[in-house]
């Protein structure tokens, strides 16, 4: 029987970040943490490039700094110095910029960084493995949960049993832990698929991120180190199926038509992924002896690149709620702690979800009337200082009451 203060179900980015926040070398009162995953996260780290990348907003960067992870990640990160948003028909020669955000809008600081997920995994895994308070059990699937009242208990397919004050579910959008606790979700799917891949281009992107609102959905070009960019390319489900089935040459042709010729010749240098887009929010972020984080709690449209950052905000709020309780000798899995976490995160998440859903519905449509309205709307946003500041801070993750970790303070 394994015993821990907290069991984390899932060793993907959010699960590892939660482990490091609660028990890493920078944690003020390290808790005893057990992390379980049916896969081995090592295979996502460093050498194996799987084509996935994340945007790190300013507050997420401060949190990674506070956890002692940023120095290692920074060397693999590309600063996003400029963001332009356009609204154009595919293949159109001219793409008038509706919105333009530069460093001058953000106090001279890069608003965000792009990092390939393998480097995030690498840094998080190193730190988790080095911490004496974190035990990582990989290739271990959790087969049963029993929640409360005093403790949560679970069983694994390797015939292990574990108990803890709290289970943190970082086990993804289909979250088995959430299902075991009978927490329903609401949401809808968009009949859209996000195609993710990586391209190399002849000319430098100069740290510029581009978001082109095409009729089928946003087409985002996000700068990576070297002359490379990560693409998040949204298509209607039917079209995505066709595009994913194309051979390399035809795939590149489709891609190039949307990308435009401004960065010269293009080569696809990473594998293709297709993610069906949906909006899903758990009806509660907590249950008895259970807290949901990341995709287990919410899956939002990737239009604004906020998914991973929203997960880090969960981690920061949960770590602070738990740390405040543990400082006073209170039970880290008690209903009071969980209620504090839920209050903190739910409003922020719902607001972000509603905002991105609204943007999606506004932009994924080729109706000329709508095109005119959104052109006006975004141009107004670009020219009105205060509103633009809000957009920038929202994209950089600085609205709402910030947990200490996101302000760069240890908990």
């Amino acid at each position: 029987m394994e015993k821990a203060d907290i069991v984390i179900a899932g060793a993907a980015l959010n699960g590892l970040a939660a482990a490091v926040a609660l028990a890493g070398p920078k944690a003020i009162r390290p808790l005893d943490i057990l992390v379980l995953d049916q896969a081995d996260p090592t295979k996502f780290a460093r050498d194996s490039f799987d084509g996935r990348a994340s945007a790190i907003t300013a507050s997420s960067r401060r949190m990674l700094e506070a956890l002692g992870l940023w120095d290692e990640i920074r060397v693999h990160a590309e600063a996003m110095r400029e963001i332009i948003v356009t609204d154009a028909k595919p293949g159109a020669q001219a793409r008038p910029a509706l919105l333009h955000f530069g460093e001058e809008d953000h106090g001279g600081d890069a608003s965000a960084f792009m990092v390939e997920n393998r480097h995030l995994y690498g840094a998080l895994l190193d730190m988790a493995r080095a911490s004496p308070a974190i035990r990582l059990m990989t290739n271990t699937r959790i087969t049963a949960y029993r929640f409360g009242p005093g403790l949560a208990r679970l069983a694994t397919d390797t015939n292990e049993e574990a108990r803890a004050s709290l289970v943190v579910a970082a086990d993804g959008r289909a979250s088995p832990a959430r299902k075991a606790a009978h927490i329903d979700t609401y949401g809808w799917s968009y009949d859209q698929v996000g195609i993710v891949t990586t391209v190399q281009h002849e000319r430098s992107h100069r740290g510029r991120a581009e978001e082109h609102f095409l009729p089928s959905g946003p087409f985002a070009i996000l700068p990576l180190p070297g002359n490379r960019s990560s693409l998040v390319w949204t298509e209607r489900s039917q079209d995505a199926k066709r595009i994913m089935a194309l051979d390399d040459e035809a795939f590149l042709a489709e891609l190039a038509r949307r990308f435009g010729g401004h960065l010269g010749e293009l080569t696809v240098v990473g594998p293709r992924h297709a993610y069906p887009l949906s909006m899903q929010i758990a009806q509660s972020f907590v249950g008895e002896r259970l807290a949901l984080i990341g995709d287990a709690a919410h899956v939002i449209h990737p239009i604004a690149g906020l998914g991973f950052n929203l997960g880090l905000r969960d981690v920061a709020a949960l770590a602070e709620s738990i740390s405040e309780a543990v400082k006073l000798g209170l039970d880290p899995g008690s209903a009071s702690v969980l209620a504090a976490y839920e209050r903190w995160r739910r409003f922020d998440t719902v607001m972000t979800a509603v905002a991105t859903d609204g943007l999606t519905r506004l932009f994924s449509n080729d109706n000329p009337g709508l095109r005119a309205i959104r052109g006006l709307g975004l141009r107004a946003a670009g020219s009105v200082g205060a509103l633009k500041g809000f957009f920038m801070r929202e994209a950089a993750g600085e609205t709402g009451r910030l947990p200490k970790l996101l302000q760069g303070e240890a908990v």
């Binding site: 390290p30 403790l151 006073l328 209170l330 009071s336």
Partner: protein
């Protein structure tokens, strides 16, 4: 540390019954909601004072390791369990057998080793027990002879030991807030929980401590902020207040 009757010696039906009562004690929105909201402010005060007076590192998980605590009137263990988690070797006493059984079942569920006894402070003093820290939180206003009670606590205290007392002041304001407000208007507490006549002024308490040979080290008011929904330490001791006193060393 083993008690005469631990939860394992209870029959399963009894355990289930007490487990249900325990769930009520620990429900932050249940009958004892006001205690849950009040708990952090008193826990923070105890932790701050004990770590400072016994020169303990407040940043470790178990700063109270090696200190023997007594929680008088422990109820379901709302204060006892946090002390155990902070490392205290703790005894919780309550005159109610039902409270003690409830507290035991909950501690078992949490894997906490706590010595719970259905007993009074007098029983322990007569048995010659002694403690480094005595917690007397929201208890003294319910006692028949509070002055004698303070003397009993002094007998239980080791040299340099600390006693914490939290209670309600006897003022017009406390009548309005603690009786009319909390019991009749807000319904935070069952009517009849408190008798205003039995409330104790800080000066009365300080005098009784002195008679018992204890020296008051610090005292503070505790007030409720209706906007944040939190209790905070404050200068205002008109209603709720807490204090810490020490028994002189040899």
């Amino acid at each position: 540390m083993t008690s005469v009757l631990n939860a394992r010696s209870l029959d399963p039906a009894e355990i289930e019954k007490f487990s249900k009562i325990a769930a009520e004690w620990w429900n932050p929105k249940g009958k004892f909601a006001v205690l849950h909201v009040f708990n952090p402010v008193r826990l923070a005060y105890i932790k701050e004072q004990v770590t400072a007076r016994f020169a303990r590192d407040p940043f470790v998980r178990r700063p109270f390791e090696g200190l023997r605590f007594l929680d008088i009137g422990c109820g379901g263990g709302l204060l006892t369990e946090p002390m155990a988690r902070l490392g205290a070797d703790i005894t919780g006493v309550d005159p109610s057998e039902k409270n003690i059984a409830t507290a035991r079942v909950h501690a078992e569920e949490q894997d906490l080793a706590i010595d719970y006894r259905a007993a009074t402070a007098e029983d322990l003093a007569d048995a010659g027990e002694s403690f480094d820290v005595i917690l007397n939180m929201e208890v003294i206003e319910h006692v028949t002879d509070p002055k004698a009670f303070v003397q009993t606590c002094a007998r239980l205290l080791r040299p340099n030991g600390l006693i914490f007392i939290a209670t309600l002041n006897r003022t017009l304001k406390s009548f309005g807030l603690a009786i009319v407000g909390a019991e009749y208007i807000l319904g935070w507490l069952p009517r009849g929980t408190h008798q205003w006549e039995k409330f104790i002024t800080p000066d009365e308490l300080e005098a009784w401590l002195a008679v018992s040979g204890l020296k008051q080290l610090d005292r503070t008011g505790v007030t409720y902020n209706p906007f944040s929904g939190e209790w905070r330490r404050a200068r205002d001791m008109d209603v709720n207040y807490m204090l810490v006193a020490q028994k002189p060393g040899n």
